[in-house]
C-alpha cells in the first residue's frame, strides 16, 4: 500500500466515524417519536399518510402481526415491480421503446429489489424503462431499506420492554424511516451527485459524433432480418463503421443516492458505479462510498441509545470496524500487487505519482487501486452490492475478501437494519457460548437467553450458508449451471460461488462474467434471496416478541458484561468461527486454488 492509500482509507474511516453519533442520535429520536428538526415540514405529511391509510399511530402490534404486515407489504411490492417490467412497453416514460422484460428475469428482479438485494441479472440501460426504474426499483430501494430498519427497531424494543406483548407498529416504523431518514438524505446526496456529473433527466439517450470513426465486425443480416450464414453454418461477418456514439442517460442520480444509502446497490446502468455517468469523479465516489456504510454504522449508536446504554452500541460497532479495517488492508494490498502473469509482458504495474499501477483490469482510472479496493470491501461488508470496478477481474485474494465478507452473513455492517439485527443474533450466540463456558445463565441486555431465542438465532445463522453452499452445489452439478460460466478453471467455480454468496446474503454484487440471466439462475437465485431475507427477518421478530414478554433481570455478579473489549473479541470470534468453518472448504476450491495457480504452483488448464 502507498502512503496515499493509507491517507485515503484513513480519511474515509474518520469521516464515517465522525458521522455515527450525530446521525445515530437523530435516528433514535425519530424512532422514539421525539421532535427532530424536520418535524415542522414532515409531521403534517406523516399525519396525512396515517389518516389516508387508516393507521392508528398508537395501536402497536404483536410480533406475529408485525411480521405479517411486513410480508404483505413486500408481496405488494413484488407484484408491482413484476407488473411494471411486464407492461413497460405499453407505459409512458420509455423513450428507448424497450420491450417487456422476460417473466423469469422479471421474477428475479422483483424478488431482488423487495429483499434489498439488488442482484441484477439484467443490464439497466438496455432493459428497463425510466418508468420501471423510478416507479418500481427506486420505490423498492426506499421501502425495502425502511422495512429492514423497522425490523431492527422492533428487535430493540424487545430488549427494552418488560412483560409486554407488543413491539411497535410496522407502518409507523416504516413511514418514519422513509420520511425522516431516507428521503432527506437521498435528496441532498442526489443533488450533490448531479453537481459532480451524475445524470438526472427524462430526455432520450443522447447521440454525439465520434472524433475518430471506428470500424467493427458484425453479423450480416438478410433482408428479413435473419443472420446470414455461410456453408459451414457460421454467420457471415461484415465490416461497418460507427461515426456516432449513443450515450445512455436517464433519471439516475435520484436512484443512485438511495441505492447507496439504503444498502440496495442496484445500478441505473449495467456497470453500476463504475459508469462515469453514475459515479463521475473521485468526490462522487467518496460520497457514494460514505453513503453505503453511513446508516448501518450510525444504527449501532441508535441501538445503544434505544437500549439505554450507548456502550452496547459502540461495542458492536467496534467489532464490525475491526473486521472491516483488517480486510481493507488485505484487499488494497492484493489489488496493488498487480497480476504476476502480466509481469513478463513489458507492462509497468508499479505505483507512483504518475499512475496507480496494480491490477487495473476492470478498474477506472479516476478511482485507481485504492478506491476500487476500498469500495469492494465496503460494498460487501454492507449488503450493498454496488460496484465501482469489476470484481470478476480482481486478483484471487482480491475476489476472496468480498466473497467472504458476504458469507459472514452480512453482519459486518450489513444491510440497513438487517446487518445490525444479524449481528445481534451473533451476539446472542456469543453470550450463550460464553455462558456455557463460565457456567452461568446467558443473558444479553438484561434479558435471559433461553432455548427459544437460541433456536431462532440458529435459524438466522444457518439459512444463508444453506442457500450459498446448497445452491452452488446444485449449480455445479447441472448443465444449466455450468454453461453460464465465463472464465475457465478455478475462477469459473468462483463465479458460481460468488453468485450464491451474493444472493444468499442479500448483497447483490456479482462476478459479472457469469451469464446469470437464464431461467435456471433467475429462479434459483430468486429463491435464495427470498429465503435469506424472510427466514431471517421473521425469526428476528419472533425473538423480539419473546424478549419483550420477559422480565428484565438486574445486572448481577454473574452477568457477562457485553460492553468490554473482551466481548468485542468474543463477538468477532463467533462471527469468524462460523464464517470460516462453513466456507473455507468452498473457498479453497475457488480463489485459493486460483491464487496458487497464479503463483506458479501447478498449471492453469481450462
Amino acid at each position: 500500500m502507498t502512503s496515499n492509500s493509507f491517507f485515503q482509507v484513513g480519511l474515509y474511516l474518520f469521516t464515517l466515524l465522525a458521522l455515527v453519533k450525530p446521525l445515530g442520535w437523530y435516528m433514535a429520536r425519530v424512532y422514539e417519536g421525539e421532535p427532530v428538526g424536520l418535524n415542522r415540514i414532515l409531521l403534517p405529511l406523516e399525519a396525512l399518510v396515517y389518516r389516508l391509510a387508516g393507521v392508528d399511530l398508537k395501536q402497536e402490534m404483536r410480533w406475529t402481526e408485525y411480521a405479517i404486515t411486513m410480508l404483505v407489504f413486500n408481496l405488494l411490492g413484488f407484484l408491482a415491480v413484476f407488473a411494471l417490467q411486464s407492461l413497460q412497453a405499453y407505459l409512458p416514460l420509455n423513450p428507448q421503446k424497450l420491450p417487456a422484460v422476460s417473466p423469469d428475469s422479471s421474477f428475479n428482479t422483483a424478488v431482488s429489489f423487495i429483499t434489498n438485494t439488488n442482484w441484477q441479472a439484467y443490464s439497466g440501460e438496455v432493459t428497463m424503462s425510466y418508468l420501471t426504474q423510478m416507479l418500481g426499483l427506486t420505490v423498492q430501494n426506499f421501502v425495502s431499506a425502511a422495512a429492514g430498519m423497522a425490523t431492527l427497531v422492533a428487535l430493540m424494543r424487545g430488549f427494552t420492554r418488560r412483560k409486554a406483548n407488543i413491539i411497535g407498529n410496522f407502518w409507523v416504523d416504516m413511514t418514519r424511516s422513509t420520511l425522516y431518514i431516507l428521503m432527506p438524505l437521498s435528496l441532498v446526496l442526489a443533488l450533490v451527485l448531479v453537481g459532480q456529473g451524475v445524470v438526472q433527466t427524462f430526455k432520450p439517450y443522447q447521440t454525439v459524433p465520434l472524433l475518430e470513426a471506428v470500424s467493427y465486425q458484425q453479423p450480416k443480416l438478410c433482408e428479413d432480418g435473419v443472420v446470414l450464414q455461410d456453408a459451414n453454418g457460421k454467420p457471415v461477418m461484415e465490416t461497418v463503421q460507427a461515426n456516432e456514439q449513443v450515450i445512455a442517460v436517464g433519471p439516475a442520480a435520484s436512484q443512485v443516492a438511495i441505492k447507496q444509502l439504503g444498502t440496495n446497490g442496484g445500478g441505473f446502468f449495467n456497470v453500476n458505479s463504475s459508469h462515469p455517468l453514475e459515479n463521475p469523479t473521485p468526490l462522487s465516489n467518496f460520497l457514494e462510498m460514505l453513503a453505503i456504510l453511513l446508516i448501518p454504522a450510525a444504527l449501532c449508536y441508535t441501538f445503544g441509545v434505544m437500549v439505554g446504554d450507548a456502550r452496547q452500541g459502540w461495542t458492536v460497532l467496534a467489532a464490525m470496524g475491526l473486521v472491516l479495517v483488517a480486510l481493507i488492508l488485505v484487499e488494497v494490498s492484493a489489488e496493488q500487487g498487480g497480476n504476476p502473469a502480466l509481469a513478463t509482458l513489458g507492462v509497468d504495474q508499479s505505483a507512483n505519482e504518475a499512475q496507480s499501477g496494480g491490477n487495473t483490469e476492470g478498474k477506472e482510472t479516476r478511482f485507481g487501486i485504492t478506491n476500487s479496493a476500498l469500495w469492494a470491501v465496503v460494498t460487501t461488508a454492507a449488503s450493498n452490492g454496488s460496484v465501482n470496478a469489476m470484481h470478476d477481474s480482481f486478483s484471487p485474494i482480491g475476489g476472496l475478501v468480498p466473497m467472504w465478507l458476504m458469507q459472514l452473513g452480512e453482519v459486518i455492517f450489513g444491510g440497513v437494519g438487517s446487518g445490525l439485527y444479524g449481528m445481534i443474533m451473533f451476539a446472542i450466540v456469543a453470550v450463550f457460548v460464553s455462558g456455557l463456558m463460565i457456567g452461568r445463565t446467558p443473558e444479553y441486555l438484561g434479558k435471559k437467553i433461553e432455548a427459544f431465542e437460541m433456536k431462532m438465532a440458529a435459524i438466522t445463522i444457518l439459512i444463508p450458508p444453506l442457500m450459498v453452499l446448497g445452491g452452488s452445489a446444485i449449480a455445479v452439478m447441472v448443465e444449466f449451471g455450468k454453461a453460464a460460466v465465463f472464465n475457465p478453471g478455478a475462477h469459473g467455480f468462483s463465479e458460481i460461488l460468488y453468485a450464491f454468496s451474493s444472493a444468499g446474503n442479500n448483497n447483490g454484487s456479482a462476478f459479472g462474467g457469469l451469464s446469470a440471466n437464464t431461467p435456471f439462475y433467475n429462479a434459483i437465485l430468486g429463491v435464495a434471496m427470498l429465503f435469506s431475507r424472510y427466514w431471517l427477518a421473521v425469526p428476528v421478530l419472533a425473538i423480539a416478541g419473546s424478549l419483550a414478554a420477559k422480565k428484565t433481570i438486574p445486572v448481577g455478579p454473574g452477568t457477562l458484561p457485553t460492553h468490554t473489549p473482551l466481548f468485542v473479541m468474543l463477538l468477532i470470534g463467533t462471527v469468524l468461527m462460523v464464517g470460516a468453518l462453513t466456507f473455507i472448504p468452498a473457498l479453497a476450491l475457488g480463489p485459493m486454488v486460483e491464487q496458487l495457480h497464479l503463483l506458479g504452483v501447478g498449471s492453469v488448464k481450462g
Binding site: A53, V55, T69, M134, V194, P209, V271, L283, M390, E594
Partner: protein, 191 residues
Amino acid sequence: MLKHFRPAIILFLIFTVLTGVVYPALVTGLAQLLFPNQANGSLMAGVNGNTTGSRLIGQPFNSPGYFWGRPSATSPFPYNAGASSGSNLGPTNPALLDAVKTRVIALQAADPDNKTAVPVDLVTASGSGLDPHISPAAAEYQISRVVQARHLSAEKIRELVATHTEPRQWGMFGESRVNVLTLNLALDTLH
C-alpha cells in the same frame, strides 16, 4: 390477515407516489435548474455550436496522431455508451494475457523507438468500457508517437497534456488523470 391489506395497499400507493414520482421529479427539477449541463450528460459544445461528445464519456481512438484511451470491452464496438460493460476476464484467464499481449505489441509497433515499459492502465480494459481517462504515465508514454505523427514539438504536446491533466480532486481524492477526449479535441486545434 385480510384486515392488513387495506392499509398495506394504501400505504404502498402513497409510498409509490412519494418515492417513485415526487422524489425523482423534485430531484430532476432542481438538477435541471442548478446543474443543467451535468444533469444532461456533461455534453461539450464545439466551436460552431454542435456537440463534440461528453467530457465524462471516453471515445475510441486508434490512429497514431491521437492519444489512445483505455481498452474498452463494450460491444459491438469499443466505447459504446449505450451498453456499458467490463471485460470480466479473470486474472488467470489466458484470454486476458493474450489481449494484453496484443495491445502491448500494437503500442510498440506504432512507436518502435519507445522502449519503456507500457503503463498497465493502457493495456487493461476499464470497468465501464467508457473510462474517459488514462493515467499521466499512459499519456507520457504516447507523447513520442503523437509528436512523430503530427510533426509538432514534444514540448508543445507535453504542455497540452499537462493542461488536460486533473490532479487528485481537492488534492486528496482519487488519482490524477488525463482526459483523452478533451486532449485530442485540443490537439486538433493545434497547428
